[in-house]
């Protein structure tokens, strides 16, 4: 809360204080409407280029969670919807195992040794007690989602 309050002080009305506010920059800035001629033009700040989630991007997350069915969406589209992720990880498919990562096993069965070297990107967002994780792989040079899960923080896999 204190950190959020500080952001408010520093940025005035520019920043919102959602707990899931993405703290990192994205490569592509969001679409910003041009200011009206009479409006005061404020200088761009690093915070301006943060990708913000669309309204209601993170609904309540009771129960055991669900998938947003993001399969096939490129990273840009996912960022547009959910904002910039709080965490980004890159690893080899063979480096992770367990029920949480079973979507990787579906696409890249680890019994085939070559699959274990496939690079995976994992993005995570946190909004209150809700957590979204999306997994991406590279298809024709584009990072595309192939699995996702949205759940309460008390869910275990």
């Amino acid at each position: 809360m204190i950190a959020c309050a500080r952001v408010w002080v520093a940025l005035g009305a520019l920043a919102s204080c959602h707990r899931g506010e993405p703290p990192v920059k994205t490569e592509r800035p969001p679409d910003v409407k041009p200011p009206a001629a009479t409006a005061k033009v404020e200088p761009p700040t690093p915070e301006r280029v943060l990708q913000k989630p669309t309204p209601n991007a993170f609904p309540p997350c009771p129960g055991g969670g669900f998938s947003f069915e993001l399969k096939g969406l490129p990273q840009e589209r996912v960022s547009e919807r959910f904002g910039s992720p709080a965490e980004r990880e890159t690893y080899r498919a063979g480096d992770r195992g367990g029920e949480f990562y079973v979507g990787i096993e579906n696409v890249y069965p680890s019994k085939i040794p070559a699959n274990r070297d496939v690079p995976i990107e994992e993005w995570t967002w946190t909004s209150g007690e809700c957590i979204l994780t999306v997994w991406f792989h590279r298809v024709d040079g584009v990072w595309v989602a192939f699995d996702d899960i949205y759940r309460n923080e008390d869910v275990a896999f």
């Binding site: 063979g94 367990g98 040794p113 008390d154």
Partner: protein, 221 residues
């Protein structure tokens, strides 16, 4: 048969004070789901088969494995001091008043894995029809290593309190931040082997059930 029983929010624990054994029973109320509309609706026989297979898999993985010790000044403690008290796990299919609501998804095929999971506060378990099959994960190089697990047995472990909501740091042990991330063969990691720590929450629940009686884990078999 003389019993001491305790109904918790996640199970009913019964202590048979004559035979010296403990039964942990979870009441499961099912919600039957389909992964796609192409699949046929669940038949009663399929539902019964699922429940029976879940019960067997959990029984095989968890029952008669933990041998408890008892100490204290109660009659029960005196009678069973130095003896092993086995713990048995049981599932009961109910239509109301469950400990757990269990969503079971009929999967599209035998090689499709759906993320099975447990929501502690909601008392929800998400399972699918492939959760009885051993799921293998292979690693390497440098060393080629495969570890297998039966998912329904792993998820049952979460319902036994091996979950971060109950004990911080005691959730999925395959998480890189887990203290037990290297213990690949562990049931709560990627394997099928039980560890002493997996019974901590049960022993916590047992404490206080009977006056002047203290339970602890003797050994695993």
């Amino acid at each position: 048969m003389s019993h001491a029983t305790k109904d918790t929010s996640w199970c009913t624990i019964g202590i048979d004070t004559v035979a010296g054994k403990i039964v942990v029973q979870e009441r499961w109320q099912y919600v039957w789901l389909l992964q796609s509309s192409r699949l046929s609706r669940w038949t009663l026989a399929e539902k019964q088969s699922f429940h029976a297979r879940a019960g067997r898999a959990i029984w095989n993985a968890w029952s008669n494995r933990a041998m408890l010790k008892v100490d204290g000044s109660s009659e029960f403690a005196k009678r069973f001091r130095g003896r092993e008290i086995p713990v048995f796990m049981d599932l009961r299919w109910v239509l109301a008043k469950p400990h757990w609501t269990v969503h079971v998804t009929k999967a599209n095929g035998r090689d499709v894995f759906i993320k099975s999971r447990v929501g502690w506060s909601a008392r929800v378990i998400e399972l699918d029809t492939n959760d009885f099959m051993e799921r293998e994960k292979c690693f390497g190089p440098p060393k080629d290593l495969c570890v297998a697990q039966i998912p329904v047995a792993h998820e049952f472990g979460h319902t036994m309190g091996n979950i971060g909501a109950v004990h911080k740091g005691r959730s999925d042990e395959y998480n890189e931040k887990s203290l037990f991330a290297e213990d690949l063969a562990s049931m709560m990691n990627r394997g099928n082997e039980l560890r002493d720590r997996h019974f901590n929450h049960l022993i916590h629940e047992l404490s206080g059930m009977m006056a002047d009686t203290v339970f602890s884990l003797g050994r695993l078999q």
